[in-house]
Each structure stands twice: as C-alpha cells, then as structure tokens.
Subunit: 143 residues, 2 copies
C-alpha cells in the first residue's frame, strides 16, 4: 500500500495535480480489491463508504491511477473494461471460462521469454502485453 500511495503522490506532484478525500476513498477501495473490478463495481463499493461519489469521478480516477502506473486495464471479450492494481499483483495473464465467466490468473516465465524473442525478431520494444486463454474450466467441462 505504501508503495502505491507513493506512486500516486509522485505522479500527482509531477503533474501538478491534487489529493482529495474522495480520491483517497476511491484509491483505498481499489487497493482493497484482490482481482479485477469494473468501474461500475468499484462505484458500488466506494458508495458504501461515501455515497456522494459519482460514477464520473470513478472513471476519472481510474484513468488517473492508470496513467500513474498503479492500475492496469483489460478488456475481455465483452464490452466493459476491467481494472486491477499492482499492489500484491505483479503481472500475470488470464484463463477465462466462457461458460461460467470464471477468471483464473497465472504467471509463466517461459512465455515472457518467448515474447522477447519474437519482439527481437521484429525489432520491436515491448512495453506490455496481454495473454488471454479462453475455454472451459474444469467444473464446467465436467457438467
């Protein structure tokens, strides 16, 4: 948590932006989340703490957290964006069950290596990536 707060503080002062109590409430709720969360979902959680915070502010702050480097954004097959933070959450990829919607996270260094090889071949400098495996999870395939 300390590292994330620091990251945000740095970003804010660098860009001449401000802290605010609502921004803090949103950050706290966001960092409390373990997995992915949509703006809508985060809005609900935040509203348990402070019902005066509107959805627009959630979007504005998620964008800010993203720009500050403490949130990642992904879009799966459906429409809405999912956000997740980096606190206790280094990079990983996703297995997504198309039947029940379950999302499993995994890490695999082999894949990262192979990616570097590929990038080298195309003289490409990788800054980030996403790998998503779609299919059926064990529960759903045994049904």
């Amino acid at each position: 948590m300390y590292k994330e707060k620091q990251l945000l503080t740095n970003f804010l002062s660098e860009k001449n932006l401000r802290h605010s109590s609502k921004r803090n409430t949103i950050l706290k709720a966001f960092l409390k989340e373990e997995g992915h969360i949509t703006a809508e979902e985060l809005h609900k959680k935040v509203n348990e703490e402070d019902p005066s915070i509107g959805i627009a502010t959630i979007y504005r702050n998620l964008k800010l957290f993203h720009d500050a480097g403490l949130a990642r954004m992904s879009r799966f097959e459906k429409g809405e964006a999912h956000y997740e933070h980096n606190y206790l959450h280094t990079h990983h990829d996703h297995l997504i069950c198309l039947k029940c919607g379950k999302i499993i996270e995994f890490k695999n260094p082999e894949i990262e290596e192979t990616q570097e090889k590929i990038a080298g071949k195309h003289k490409f400098k990788i800054t980030s990536h996403r790998l998503e495996l779609y299919g059926t999870c064990s529960k759903c395939s045994s049904k």
Copy 2:
C-alpha cells in the same frame, strides 16, 4: 475463397438461414481485406459497391460470419471490435505499436505449446486465445 463460401453455405443451411445479394457483397468485401477491419471501415468499403447497405446489416453479418467460424473478433486497448477472416489467415498473434498504431502479425508454435501446458495445469480446455504485445516498432523507436 471457396472454402469460406462453403463454410458459410453449410452454416446457413444448417441454421435454416438464407443467402442474399447484400450478404454476398459484404462477404466479398470482407474476404478481400487482408488485415483487421472494424465494422465501420467495412461499412465504408461495402458502400462503394452498394450504398444502400446500412451499418446494422454489417454488424448482423459480421456476427453471422463469426458464428459460422469464418471470422475472428478481437478488441485491442481501445473500444471498437476488429474483425478478420480465416481465408489466407490462420491463427496468429499481434504486435501493436503504441506510437504509430501499426499492427504486425506473427505466429509462434512455442507459445501455443506453453499455453497447452498451462491449461493442463488448471484442467482447463482452451478453445481460443489472444496474445498481444504492446510496444514501439523499429521505425518509431529510431525517431
């Protein structure tokens, strides 16, 4: 092209759906495309041939092509969906330049193997995947 048309014909008769001249126009324009295309872009191309075709029909047919197995859909970081066909286009992944927007396609069997290993570990049955590497292409990094 023959294979794709056949695929569509099979799908149509299986589902008791019909051919139509507009559907053909859309299919032809779609198969002519080499890379990814958005619904909007395809609409423009189709309209050069037949300006009476509306965007809703483009969406309806892209969905149909997708269900019939002759189109793939992906969403990159931004909102809109991109479609691509399987004619001369077997599965591949993408390198995406964040500066100029260039999209390079690549194939890598090693990665596919590793994916299967990961899926096995989680008793997951993979039906599809997406791998996107974001970064800077050679041109943009030399500027």
